[in-house]
């Protein structure tokens, strides 16, 4: 495998920096591009893009990881901002032009070949939006993709479920029967901030859930047909229109989620249980994998290797079955 730094420009002429991974053997036909995921750049949390790109290069794929403008080593400036507002701009397509430029770059370097896009979280919605707009994209792999929009008013406390907070609290509850725990609690060595915020979150998410149930009951059936929010956040209409476009144009779509990710609960509620029943013709248009216990970022060595296997197997199988080398 050969790894090389590369540079290309965005639509404003700013330099974007990336790494290409080239396989030793004759490469497969498809080119893989990892889309920028937000704050974590071309490496991604737990270095997942690096590990996956190397794995795919060993399987014969030429891959590119790159930093979008104003991130990592690339040019451009991002002034101080609200994190959730920034996420919202990503979810509405902030980095789509950069991915299109990355496709231009890969085509110029390796020839016009089908494109596979892969990304995590904010990068995943970028992948989805790009795939729906750019006919050069053949497959899209979306890991922990958000179906809702972030903005500064969004409260993650109400979007996280009671189960999330219970997960954090459970070890403390287990310790309540132990004398050492009480000694530590009274000695001033405990993490009072963490305990306080967990209890506060549990109470807030419980109230939010009750409120959602009350609102659901209060709404007419007609109103329920036009679902626009989830957990207090606005659903991203671009997600659903991107899905329809990709389905109609026969792009291959792979979604992977961690079962403990509140993004999965939102996907399930808004997409699987609300959108799909109204559009049964799309039921076979995508592949979905859920790693039951995994978190949003698959932040455990076991989940990372399971995730890698899922992506590799799907790409290799799809490539083989559609005539790739």
């Amino acid at each position: 495998m050969n790894e090389k730094p590369v540079v290309f420009t965005d639509k404003e002429g700013q330099h974007l920096v990336g790494i290409v991974h080239e396989p030793e053997a004759t490469p497969r036909d498809e080119l893989v591009i990892f889309a920028f995921g937000g704050v974590m750049g071309r490496v991604a949390q737990l270095r997942q893009y690096v590990n996956l790109a190397r794995l795919l290069a060993r399987e014969g794929f030429i891959t590119l990881r790159f930093d979008s403008h104003h991130m990592g080593d690339s040019e451009g400036e991002l002034p101080r901002c609200n994190t959730k507002t920034y996420y919202g701009t990503i979810q509405t397509g902030r980095y789509v032009p950069d991915v299109s430029r990355a496709i231009d770059f890969m085509h110029a370097r390796y020839g016009r070949r089908p494109i596979v896009l892969i990304a995590l979280c904010g990068g995943a919605i970028t992948v989805f939006l790009t795939a729906s707009q750019d006919p050069r994209v053949k497959r899209a792999v979306m890991l922990s993709v958000p179906v809702a929009l972030d903005d500064s008013s969004v409260d993650y406390t109400s979007r996280r479920g009671v189960a999330d907070y219970w997960q954090t609290l459970r070890p403390y509850m287990f310790k309540l029967t132990k004398r050492e725990y009480w000694k530590r609690l009274l000695s001033g060595k405990s993490e009072y901030d963490r305990i306080y915020h967990t209890f506060k979150g549990l109470a807030a998410s419980g109230l939010a859930q009750l409120q959602r149930r009350y609102e659901r009951d209060a709404k007419s059936e007609e109103a329920q047909e036009t679902k626009e929010t989830i957990g207090g956040a606005t659903l991203n209409s671009r997600f659903f229109s991107a899905f329809e476009t990709c389905a109609l144009t026969k792009r291959d779509m792979l979604f992977v989620f961690g079962g403990n990710d509140f993004f999965y609960r939102e996907f399930k509620e808004a997409f699987e249980e609300d959108f799909l029943p109204k559009h049964p013709e799309y039921r076979d248009a995508f592949t979905l994998h859920v790693l039951p216990q995994a978190s949003h970022m698959f932040s455990f060595p076991l989940w990372q290797s399971q995730l890698q296997d899922i992506v590799r197997n799907w790409l290799v199988k799809e490539t083989t079955s559609t005539g790739g080398s």
């Binding site: 704050v39 270095r47 080593d73 997960q167």
Partner: protein, 299 residues
């Protein structure tokens, strides 16, 4: 394999090159920022923090490097083996490899035309590697330790404790506590339960050699020999007294003949984690105090 670096020339004419350089059997990724205008002769090596903190602070280092280059310094930001774009896996890296990587990066920069002395800058665990390497070289004129981890064992134990919560997701209880994980790591080379690796820090697997070497480190004892200029800048959210270990480190450095200045950088967020409300890679006070100090010691 030797490769030609990829170079950016910005609209202002600033040159940055991206390349891999060899350290033994591993290839390390580097971003070299060439000095703007008349070069000062100072080469600056930036040492990133550890594990996930490195990813969140990448852009901060890029911004700092560009500002340093604009003042005429030659700057190298690099990735340790097993991190960023460098070769290898995180769990293969030890204290020895990180020190060797920092030495290699310093040698690479020192080999650039016109560079005649070095400044090492490290953040958190990166400050540990910078401090240890500065004590081993006679060409390091200046050293900047941003929020240094003075007692590494204590830091690792704290991070191992934070990683325990994830066990409850998999097993519905804590199956191995921190001390059991450490014992198992030191005895068996790993800590596993039901085939699942537990010797990790929020997903980053640490090895027995790394842990054994790391717990021996205490910067108050590990920097003997350094007699250059040192700035210690703990990063805090509000004005408060510096911690006792940092004060002790400053005192030790002074006693051994170094010029050691201890100050505080008051910043609204800690840049090595995600803040859900504020996003910025421009820590104004951290950069300003570092540049002000550098101007003084470079006079």
């Amino acid at each position: 394999m030797k490769q030609t670096p990829k170079t950016i020339v910005s609209a202002r004419g600033d040159r940055e090159e991206f390349l891999f350089f060899q350290n033994g059997e591993h290839r390390l990724f580097g971003a070299h920022f060439e000095p703007r205008g008349t070069a000062t002769g100072l080469g600056v090596v930036l040492c990133a923090p550890f594990a996930e903190e490195k990813i969140y602070t990448h852009r901060l280092f890029t911004n700092f490097a560009r500002q340093l280059a604009a003042q005429g310094h030659s700057v190298l930001r690099f990735d340790f083996m097993g991190q960023g774009d460098s070769s290898g896996q995180f769990e293969e890296a030890t204290v020895e490899t990180r020190i060797a990587d920092t030495m290699c990066a310093a040698d690479w920069l020192k080999g650039r035309p016109g560079v005649n002395r070095l400044l090492l800058v490290g953040l958190r665990m990166g400050a540990v590697w910078a401090g240890l390497v500065a004590a081993q070289r006679d060409d390091v004129a200046h050293l900047v330790l941003w929020d240094p981890v003075v007692n590494v064992e204590r830091q690792l134990k704290e991070e191992l404790r934070l990683a325990l919560a994830i066990q409850t997701v998999l097993f519905r209880k804590i199956v191995m506590n921190r001390n059991q994980i450490i014992d198992s790591l030191l005895t068996n080379g790993k800590a596993e339960y039901d085939g699942v690796t537990l010797n990790h820090l929020q997903g980053w697997v640490i090895s027995k050699p790394f842990y054994e070497q790391a717990i021996q480190i205490d910067l108050r004892k590990g920097m003997s020999g350094f007699t250059g200029n040192c700035l210690l800048l703990p990063i805090v959210k509000k004005e408060k007294k510096p911690s006792k270990p940092v004060v002790e480190l400053r005192n030790v450095l002074k006693e051994q003949g170094a010029t050691a200045e201890l100050d505080l950088a008051i910043e609204e967020i800690t840049f090595w984690t995600i803040n859900p409300n504020i996003f910025t890679n421009h820590p104004a006070m951290l950069f300003d105090k570092t540049f002000a100090w550098l101007r003084e010691v470079e006079k």
